[in-house]
Every structure is written in C-alpha cells, then in structure tokens.
C-alpha cells in the first residue's frame, strides 16, 4: 500500500467522522428543551409574526431529519446565517478564527521557545537541578487550574504593570482589508491563498506594511499566549527529554560512539530521531490551540472561535454551534493528517 493510497483512505474516513460530528451536535442542540427561536428574536421583537417567520426560515416546523438536512445543505453551500447577528455564519467564523490563529501562533512560538531548549538541557544533564526543575514545571503546569494562572498573570502584568490591554483587538485599516479581500478577483489562484492568509489580521497588516498593528497584536495577545504556553511548556519539555534519552540509549548511538564520532554529530543523529514523538505532541497541541482556548478567550476577553462557540451554546445559537463544531472537527482531522505526513517526511523508515 503506497503513501498516496494511504492518504486517500485517510481522507475518505474524514467523511463519516464529520457526518457523525454534525449529527451528534445536531442531536445535542435539538435536545435543548427551551425554544431557541424565542431566544434569538429577543424579548423586544417578540410578536407572533416574527416568531413564525424565523421558525419557517430555519425549518423549525419540519421534522428533525428535514431540519438536519436543511442545516447540512446550508452549511455545505455556505449560506448559513447567524440568527442573532443577522450575518453570514462563515464570515463571522472566519473573522474570529483569524484571531484564534494569531493567539495559537504566538502561543506556539512561546511553547517551542520554552519547551524544546528546556527539554534538551534536561536530557543532557539528566538528574541535575535543571532536570528536576523541568519535572516540577511539568507537574505544576498540568496541575494548576488554568483560570487561576490567568488571574494572577493579569494581576501582575496588567493591574500592577500595565504591559498589555484586555479590551478590543488590533485590526488592519479598512483600505487594507478591502485590498486583501479584492485579491482573488485580481490574481486567479494564488489570490485566494494570499487572501486567506491575509484574513488573519496580523498577517493582513503585515502585507499592507502596517507594522504598528502587528506590534499592537503582540502586545495584546502575548499574555494569554504566554499563559497557555506556560501550562503545557513543562509537559513538552518532558516529552523532548524522554524521547532524546530513549534515542540516546539505543544501539545505533552506541555504534556511533564506538566509531568515534564527535559529540556534536552524535547529538545531531539523536535529535533527528527523537523528533517523531516531539512532532506528534507539538502538532496535537497546535491543533488544540487552533480549536479555541475557551477559558483563556473568556478570561482575557478575546473574540476568538472559542468564545464565539461558548456564547453560541449559552444563547442556543444552533447555526453557529453547528458550523463552528464542523470547522473545529475539520481542523482536528487535518492536523492529525498533517502530523502523519510529517512523520513520513522526517523518518524515511515510515511508509504507509
């Protein structure tokens, strides 16, 4: 079975998974006993005609399977509408997802900068104070309730030293967003890709040369990003340490030593082989960050995808729940898929 065959098989298994995710989301949403339409329309506009109109529009008068088919059809054709904001769900989601991507990227930078060097040092100096510190760091990180850490970071870095802000989110100027959204019309294929990348506010601003916005974004998001990285940094460092030690204990390293290779070369060999578990954990961690840090986004008041989903659930906003769960499930599957491909690239022995 070749690589292409394997990849194709994997992509095909996406379909039942995604359908299952949609179905379960739908059943959960459908089981909500309250009347969602009433919650959407709001008390102010609560008259019978308005209710009936919305109910008809979202097929609440039809049986559940018809309604489900309606939602799926709207989802796949990209017409689903946010009934509270009266906007297309996808434009809302893409906007918020861009902010989550910014947060995830900055946090990932911190994570790599903290986790990998610490892990390497801990492996080089096994059973030293550094190694012990890494162990404690990992244990505390996985035992600390995240929101308590967020509160205290806010206390120190926002209340005492005003190094960041907790309101709003820096966006590129209107002319810049207009320019980026017009790109697909100007350049045929590449335009779509560039415009998709540019829809992340930070990248969009960088493309238009608005450096101030990029700096502002870092200022706004570095605190939640750091907090997220601190929580899993120790864990990553432990994985790095353990996988390096595993490889260092294997026969080929012994052989390399016997051949009299320099220390640097031996470490080079070891690191390359230790990369596989590290890539897995980092990849899954990044996937987790992309699917929205619900608590962090709530505490730090970031309008990302996690907060959007949370708000949607508490306001019984079906269309948003369905569309965003679909997106997040898709991200999870794609991240797993990409991690598998990276395996094959790093390690030539892995053939599917």
């Amino acid at each position: 079975m070749g690589l292409a065959h394997y990849l194709a098989r994997r992509v095909i298994t996406f379909i039942p998974t995604l359908i299952g995710v949609l179905l379960i989301t739908y059943i959960v949403a459908y089981a909500i006993p309250a009347d969602p339409v009433r919650a959407w329309v709001g008390e102010k506009l609560l008259n019978r005609e308005a209710l009936e109109m919305v109910r008809k529009k979202y097929k609440f008068d039809a049986p559940w399977y018809e309604q489900f088919a309606f939602f799926v059809q709207q989802l796949l054709t990209g017409q689903l509408e946010d009934p509270i904001r009266y906007r297309n769900v996808f434009s809302e989601i893409f906007f918020r997802f861009g902010i989550t991507v910014e947060l995830a990227l900055i946090s990932f930078l911190f994570l790599v900068a903290i986790g990998i060097p610490l892990g390497i040092v801990a492996a080089m100096k096994k059973d030293s104070p550094v190694d012990f510190f890494v162990r404690i760091f990992a244990l505390i990180g996985s035992s600390l309730p995240s929101f308590v850490l967020y509160y205290f970071l806010i206390l120190i870095l926002f209340v005492y030293y005003r190094t960041t802000s907790l309101a709003g989110i820096p966006l590129p100027s209107q002319t810049c967003t207009d320019f980026i959204s017009s790109l697909p019309n100007q350049i045929p294929v590449l335009g779509y890709i560039v415009s998709a990348i540019g829809s992340v506010p930070m990248f969009g601003a960088a493309m238009c040369g608005e450096g101030g916005v990029v700096v502002e974004t870092f200022r706004r998001l570095y605190l939640p990003a750091l907090a997220l990285a601190l929580l899993s940094g120790g864990f990553i460092a432990r994985i790095v340490r353990n996988s390096i030690l595993d490889v260092m204990g294997s026969e080929f390293i012994l052989y390399a030593k016997a051949r009299g290779l320099s220390k640097l070369k031996i470490w080079g060999h070891a690191l390359k082989n230790a990369m596989i578990p590290i890539v897995t954990v980092l990849g899954l961690n990044f996937g987790g960050l992309l699917s929205g840090a619900v608590i962090a986004e709530n505490v730090f008041n970031i309008p990302g995808i996690g907060k959007y989903m949370y708000d949607a659930i508490t306001r019984l906003n079906f269309p948003v729940i369905i569309a965003s769960t679909f997106l997040v499930a898709l991200i999870y599957l794609v991240v797993n898929f990409v991690v598998d491909i990276i395996y094959a690239v790093i390690d030539p022995r892995i053939r599917y």
Partner: protein, 363 residues
Amino acid sequence: MNIVYRALRILIKIYTDIRDRITPGWSQKNSSRIREWELMAYAFSKSKIGVLGGFMVFITVVLAIIGPIISWEPYWIYKTITDPKLMYLPPCLPPWCSGRPILGTDEWGRDIVAMSLYGFRISFVISIVVVFFGSVIGIVLGLVSGYKGGVVDEIIMRLTDIFMAFPSLILAIAFAAVLPSRIRGFLGENIWFRNILSTIFGLRPQEYPQLAALLSVWIAMVVVWWPGYTRIIRGTVLSVREHPFIEAAKLCGLSTWRILVKHILPNVLSPVIVMITFDMATATLFAASLSFLGLGPQEPVPELGYMISKAGRYFPERSLHVVAYLGLVLLFIALGWNLLGDALRDVLDPRTRRALEFREEKV
C-alpha cells in the same frame, strides 16, 4: 520511607489472606505474583515523589470523605444579607488578629476554609465517578475493538474518532447546557434518587436543581472521557493478541470472554492504572473549568471552580485571597494525583522494577 513499605506490605498481606480464605491455596499458587507486588511496594516506597503524591492523595480522600461532616459552617446561610460588612473579609492570621475566619470570607460572608471542605467532596465525587465510568466504557470498547478486529473494530474506531474530533470542553459545555432541565424534572419526581445524590455530594436534598447540574456535569464528562481509554487499550491489545499464549488459550478452547478478561486485560492494565491516576487530576480541573464557565452548580453550592469565578468579578481588589486559596486547593488535589501517577508509571513498568531488583541484590 520504610513506614510506607511496611504499610503496603500489610495491605498486600490482608488481601492475600482474604483470597486464601475464599479459595484455599491461592497464595501458594500466586506466590510469584505476590512477590511482584511486594517489589512494586518497595519500588514505590523508594520514590520520594510517589510517597509525597500518595500522602497528598490520602489527605484529599480523607478530606473528601469527612469534609462536609466536619465543616463548621452551613453553606446555605447568606450572612451578608443581614450583615453586609462580612463580604470578602481579608485573611486574619492568629498572632496578629483574631475573631474572624483565618483565611477570610467569600461574597456571602462564609468562611472559605469551611466552604472548601464541601468543595473537596464535590470535586472528588465528580472526578472519581467520571474516571470510573469513562475508563470502564473505554476499556470494554477497546478490548472488543482490538481483539475482534474487522467491522466491529472499524465501527468503534470511527465512533472514537467522532468523539475525539470534538473539542472536549465544547462538547461537555453543550451537554452541560442541555441536560440540567431534563434531569431536574427527573430528580423532582424521584425523591429517593435525590436523597442518594445529596448524601454522596454532601449537600442538602433541597438543592436538587444544583444536584441536577452536578449530574449533568458527570454525564457530560463521561461522554468526552472514554475515547482516550479506547485508543490506548486497543493499541495495547493489538500487540498483546499476537503473542503465543493467546494462541494457546484459543487452542485450549477458552471462550472469547475468558481470554479477554483473564489473559489480555491483565497485560494491558498497567498503562490504564497510570492513566486513571493522571486522569483524576485532569477530571478535577476539567470539572472546575466547567463550573468556572458557569455550567456546573449555582448558588449556594460551594463548588471550587464556581466560587473562583464568582470571586473573579471582584478580583483583585477584594477577593485576591479567595482566588489564591481556592486555586491552591485545586492545585493541591491535582498535584497529588499527578505526583502519584508520575511515580506509578515508573513502579508499574517492569523494566525499572527489574533494574531496581538487580541493584538491590548487588548491594
């Protein structure tokens, strides 16, 4: 360290005595297994981290059992209604000040130490039930999926894929938002069930709407908990089932069920035990996060995450001590389980045990 080893040996002795009484000659037949257990106990008593973690878990469990009984303040009396000055009193440590609760009060003027004793029980009950049901479902599905293979395996794995593709917190939030109103009706009618639940959680039966919220947190968390176990168990079963002893068991004509329980399960158990220990910490924090987001019990239940989220509104001017203390309580519970798990992973790994045995014999 020696005390720990001796205590564990006594526990092993009690267990073997009981087994001997049920089936005479059990301890002779299983002498090698008992020796292995003693070696594990020895390895555990040698690990400082493990002993510390075990001690912290012991305290957590004891406080969870006796907490609501020894708590000196009822949680359902809102003192600030009659005396608003009691709200968020700062800590008051004995040599410098007296007459007020040592670590201060929460927004209803209740002593936060007394409230955290209820919190210990609630979070312990939630996490142990979630981990128990999650692991049982996960183990059964994993065993069946790994051993049977074929279509059954494919169906179970697709199902786990679906549940793993959900962001677990979001799925749990959705369940926790949907379920309570349905469960509330059920609890309103079934008084006996309500009474059982209130005894387990250490709350009053009158709080049954909150009990419904707690029950829905249980269900929500079990739903997102099992796939991890299924994955791990399936992977281990796939490698175990290729061994000759399984083939031998099949040739002996043993039933599938017997092979699964008697011959495969013991071989996949140690990673599961380690995972369960770590998961107790994760489940504690997960439940606290859910109620932090307002999806667990509400007033007046002193759930740790919920109390922190309430105190967060006055943070940091008035409620710094509440967030700090309750945060430390959660850290204590989770850290205990994590330390224990970290040590158990080494103890249950036969390679480290053999190395230890070898070293001790040389000395």
